[in-house]
Symmetry: C2
Subunit: 250 residues, 2 copies
DNA sequence: TCTGTACGTCGTACAACGTACAGTGTTCTA
DNA sequence: TAGAACACTGTACGTTGTACGACGTACAGA
């Protein structure tokens, strides 16, 4: 069904993504048995990212965690960039996908939005993986399929359906980005007493709109936006916007 | 007005951001005259990023471009992270800000969206600068002020006004991200003939929704979404959503 | 005018990164 | 039993940000 690789080329990313599929090419049977599998590497990398952020996912640290030598990692993964794709697909595959049943599109979309928000909150490193090849993985495709199903009751054309999903997910992604606490927030908070007086002096009476709105919207500290309000507001607007597309009887 | 720094501490980021303001602390007059200024460094860095991407903005290359030694850069900028903030603020300051005149909110918001899109298209490296401290800079504040003014005719509360602007800008940012051509797109295209048949084999009859919508929405190549449709669709939805908030007479 | 001090500049050095390359030893196949 | 295929490893290269100390220049106060 799938043509064999000629010779012993490294398994390409797509085969690594689908490594659990029955048709996926398996490594040859010769040589010593692998002490770790590609899946093990990916899982360990995800664990590392979950606990210490994506910057901590270095080949050396990963090898340490798996108790193999640094270069062994490259037996199971072609490059760090490929590894990131595998990690993202792993995370997508792990997302819950309970069927929607008789739910209306509003509840469905809300569920999609909230589950994506939860995902990006628990695995903020997904924001830092921006590789189109992720779209080829089984987890990403399963996620796409399930989320498209949420929009079916709206009765849109395929192109519009894709655009609408993109619209929803882009909103969630941007909101989750804002919700993420900047690692530099500590420094910001530490210097804030000093910086705020300086900023006030610099601003003077300029930018009245920015100053009043920024003061009203911002909290005590420097962060000039209150993210949770933005989420509620934005989600309501997204649902409103989709409602305008919906058939009257729904 | 602004208290002097005690001793000779490095100028903090906020003073560097406001370096053109009359009240900004100037460096002491002793020692040899600086061969380059902080502004020169920032401009050179922006030029580098514009032509070769943010990854090309390394301290060494920057120093080469300015014809000074590597470590001299640190005389004018405290760290690479700080430099990125200065670059972002420089880019924001450079954006056009023509007054809105008698324009209605719809046209205004459309202008804001389109100018931000243009900005992110010509300087895609702005996507890679995600530092809350950027909000302290004069360019960023001026941009914020000008964009808030677009929403004034909607007559919203300050908090809602801020949330609405965030909503618009988040949409633009996400769309611009999708429009950006992945540097790995070449590899994707190169392997596509091989990968598409493999993917087809793996998929089989699974994920019918994803397959039909993906095929319809996707183009000939791998990219599974058509970004310009997403832009038109999304912008229309954003405007619809805001219209629901507007006073009837507008 | 002389001197101390603040300041710009520079070379060297270090730790960490991804990964190319050249082995070494193990296991199945012919 | 010979050979090929495979997992694994150590060393090494080029690159990054930047800490540190030395050196020279220019102004401030004596």
């Amino acid at each position: 069904m799938i043509p064999d690789q000629e010779e012993t080329l490294p398994r390409s990313l797509i085969d690594l993504l689908w490594r659990d599929h029955p048709d996926a090419p398996t490594a040859g049977t010769r040589g010593p048995r692998a002490r770790v599998s590609t899946g093990d590497v990916v899982e360990a990398a995800v664990r590392l990212a979950d606990t210490s952020g994506l910057a901590a996912v270095t080949i050396r640290r990963l090898a340490d965690a798996l108790d193999v030598s640094t270069m062994s990692i490259y037996t199971h993964v072609n490059s760090r960039d490929d590894l990131l794709v595998l990690m993202a697909d792993f995370a997508h595959l792990a997302m819950e996908r309970t069927p929607y049943g008789r739910l209306g599109w509003r509840t469905r979309v809300q569920r999609v939005a909230e589950s994506n928000l939860a995902q990006l909150r628990t695995r903020p490193w997904l924001h830092d993986i921006d590789d189109d090849r992720t779209a080829l993985g089984p987890g990403t495709i399963a996620k796409y399929d399930h989320e498209l199903a949420a929009l079916v009751p709206l009765g849109l054309t395929p192109e519009t359906c894709d655009a609408a999903l993109t619209f929803v997910l882009d909103f969630v992604s941007a909101s989750a980005r804002a919700l993420r606490t900047d690692p530099r927030a500590g420094e910001m908070a530490a210097h804030w007493p000093e910086w705020s007086v300086r900023l006030g002096a610099y601003l003077g009476d300029d930018f009245p709109l920015a100053q009043s709105v920024g003061a009203a919207a911002g909290e005590a500290m420097g962060a000039a936006s209150s993210p949770s309000l933005a989420w509620d507001f934005g989600l309501a607007r997204v649902l409103d916007a989709l409602a305008a597309l919906a058939p009257p009887r729904s």
